[in-house]
């Protein structure tokens, strides 16, 4: 019997935390842009891209073996 592979609850929790950070980052960046401070955009985009890369990695690659191996 092959093991069932699932994403771990910890990985899901990390993704949720990263998403909360993304929401806060987007809100902050939008406020800054509305105030005319566009200099923050390249840095914010880089940070957001890194967070998304981590989220995608966890969502597609993070696995934990669950159930009987044989």
């Amino acid at each position: 019997m092959t093991p069932r592979v699932r994403i771990s609850p910890a990985a899901l929790g990390v993704i949720l935390v990263l998403l909360v950070i993304q929401v806060y980052l987007f809100e902050t960046v939008l406020g800054a842009v509305l105030d005319g401070q566009r200099k923050v955009l390249p840095g914010a985009f880089g940070v957001s891209l890194a967070l998304t890369a981590i989220c995608l990695f966890l969502a597609f690659r993070s696995t934990v073996e669950h159930g009987p191996k044989d």
Binding site: R6, I7, P9, A11, L12, I15, L16, L18, L19, Q22, V23, L25, F26, V29, L30, G31, V33, L34, D35, G36, Q37, R38, L41, P42, A44, F45, S48, L49, L51, T52, C55, L56, L58, A59, F60
Partner: protein, 191 residues
Amino acid sequence: MTWWRRAFPLELAEEGHFSRREFARFLALVSAGFTAGIGFLWMRKKPLEGASDPESGLTGQPVALGMASDLKPGESRLFKFRDAHDACILLRTSTGELKAYRQTCTHLGCAVRFSGGRLECPCHLGFFETDRGFPVQGPPSRPLSAIALETRPDGSLWAVGELPKPTLENLDRRADCPKEQQLQERQEVKA
């Protein structure tokens, strides 16, 4: 079969098909959406509607606002600056200073008005002071966009550009505390 079962024909087995991994992938896609949103803001050269654009500086087309002496203390007048949708308000404070701000409230974008010596947003009762457009009461947390004014030798008043919003870098701290400024001036006189 109960009415709500017929209205929402979902089987429990089907509900269970939404796995933890699918949920994680959905969250990751939402995260990618936020990244795309920031990228869109970065690539978009035109400022958002109602947004401040101090980078354009004083290079914009000046707008005539009539004679400076037309406006009495406590009075205000509306005008359009960047385009037909860019509503701004010109006012003369009780101390006689002329100030102009973009009329868009920094909370949810309602139009502010000059009332009782303060700029007031009637939607959620936000108030801004008239000297620099800082919020003083209510939900707004960011200052209004200020418009640069110029009085020409013939007495005519012109809107000539946008002023950068006060930040921690460009804030004139002496203006924040007039008493401190007076003390500093006295110390300079004594020295």
